[in-house]
Amino acid sequence: MTRFLSRRLLLAIVTLWLLATIVFIITNVLPNNVGRTILGPFAPQETVDALNDKLGTNRPILIRYVESMQGIVTLDFGDSFVSGKPVLPQLMAAVGRSAKLAGLALVITIPISIAAGLYAARRRDRKSDRAIVLLGVTLSSIPEFITGTILVVVVGVQLGWLPVLATPPENADIPTQIRYLLMPAMAMAIVYFGYIARMTRAGTIEVLQSDYTRTATMKGLTTTQTMRHHVLRNALVPTVAVIAVQIGYLFGGIIAVEKIFNYNGMGATMLSAAQHKDLPMLTAGVIVIGIVYMVATLGADLITAWMNPRIRLDTTR
């Protein structure tokens, strides 16, 4: 287990380094004059040069690369071009607010989609199975901001059931906060329903066809016993992996959802950074989400290893 863990951890660190390097290439190697980007095409050249000197963007590329890698290790992503203050505290506060939203979306979507996937798998190729698969394909193909828009029009404006904006009044209690976050969370939950349900269905169908499931049925276990002791544990392995991957994507989709619902999370922070060409903020955002993704997949690896000993004992994987 230790060997499995350390191998996975090492791979995660290598991946993170590559990710940071890709981001560095985007912001530093692509043809780009930071001073010019910030000040616009009409600023005099001297002002642009002065700003580049101040920001240190015209130093040799290797020095900048080493500095940016050191910055990631020490969790110092530099100062915002806009406010001049360190990027990270501001970003982390926003990430915290987004995590609330993303968490609620996952809490809604995981149980429903796993249940739907299991149901569909046990009724394979019947009408209800086809309906769930088709619904999954349809829902997961619509961008979050479209789902959000339709929800706002139907549930928010026409029916008036839920507030249209996501930001709750200050010091609101938890039920009120959930009420405000419910619609944006739904917009995201709907998109992820398709992915998770389909993965659960595929995993379960495979296990249901296996020899050990047939043995379990033939030695006289009830369906409930077979499902609980033999099927679920193995069937949910691919589902756990897909949920982990979705956690990373959740933060990509959240940008558009936060815009629709006017929620002050990391999506709003990233958009305003994009408008003001605040590269350190954007860079930090991408890397923080990369870390979230990495931690999620690492967590998923651990859970699957715990669920299925064949994975953790096979050290060559």
């Binding site: 985007i26 193909s141 828009t149 404006v157």
Partner: protein, 296 residues
């Protein structure tokens, strides 16, 4: 004996081979046409392509000019109402597919071409090349597509070419991974061993032997990527870094109009939103039918 010409042992296309292939293709098409999802998907996509091509020749009003001073609810005159500066929403929705239907297929094509090449090389040669590239692919997969596109478009400035390149490059590793796993299972088969024993070059085996056999998953991947490309380009336009005004693009229109929803003006946002939804659903229905026919 060594003088035996190599060409004699190289299999040239047997006379029956091409007709056999054509027959297989006809069979696939027949299976596809039996699926309602495939037909519905195609009808919707062809309708939007038709609108994009015909443009203002078939719209009831000029999509770029205004007729009243502001929002009007849907009526007999303006079936989908008018937008914030009084332009006919129906006309704008009809021509709104134009930009996304050019940018998204190009991005998908770029991603699939580069990804297939990469996947073929990774899967066939294995070894250190595969190890290094696999790590890179993993790193790319950890990058949130929307966020990285946002960053890159801020750095490079937004233009259709940049959007195509950014989305295409971000799709490349995903395609590469799919093609690689398809190649991995193909390369163990006898026909590859036979080709190797004949002394074929790696390039020949990849392009003439393995590639035709992984074409199925590649075509499916192309359709799936096309759907995601529409998804991504629409989202980027909504975020203000994709297609730029004054285009009647759907995602862009939603971003310009959505703040009016709170005051009850839903028509100028809902109809372009439904147009995007219909297109991505249609493409995914096609992709899904291709995938299941492929697996049969």
């Amino acid at each position: 004996m060594a003088a035996t010409p190599v060409t004699a042992t190289t299999p040239t296309a047997a006379p029956g081979q091409s007709s056999e292939r054509a027959q297989a293709r006809r069979e696939t098409l027949r299976l596809l046409l039996r699926r309602p999802a495939f037909i519905i998907g195609n009808v919707i996509v062809i309708w939007w392509v038709f609108c994009a091509v015909m443009g203002s020749r078939i719209t009831p009003y000029d999509p770029l000019n205004y007729f009243t001073t502001g929002h009007l609810p849907p009526s007999a005159e303006h079936l989908m109402g008018t937008d914030r500066i009084g332009r006919d929403v129906l006309s704008r929705v009809m021509v709104g597919s134009r930009d996304v239907l050019i940018i998204a297929p190009l991005a998908a094509l770029l991603g699939v071409t580069a990804g297939t090449l990469l996947g073929l090389v990774m899967g066939y040669y294995r070894g250190p090349v595969d190890d290094v590239l696999s790590r890179l692919v993993e790193a790319f997969l950890a990058l949130p597509v929307i966020l990285v596109s946002l960053l890159t478009l801020v750095v490079l400035g937004s233009s259709p070419i940049v959007v195509v390149c950014v989305v295409g490059i971000l799709f490349t590793p995903i395609v590469a991974r799919t093609v690689r796993s398809a190649v991995l299972s193909e390369r163990q088969l006898d026909y590859v061993t036979a080709a190797k024993l004949r002394g074929e070059t790696g390039r020949f085996i990849l392009s003439r032997e393995i590639f035709p056999n992984v074409l199925g998953p590649t075509v499916v991947e192309m359709t799936v990527r096309f759907g995601y490309a529409i998804f991504t380009v629409a989202t980027l336009s909504f975020l203000g870094v994709g297609i730029q005004p004054p285009s009647p693009d759907w995602g862009l229109t939603v971003s310009q109009e959505y703040s009016n929803m709170i005051s009850g003006i839903w028509w100028s946002t809902l109809f372009p939103a439904l147009a995007i939804a219909s297109t991505v659903i249609a493409v995914n229905l096609i992709a899904d039918s291709l995938q299941s026919v492929n697996n049969e």
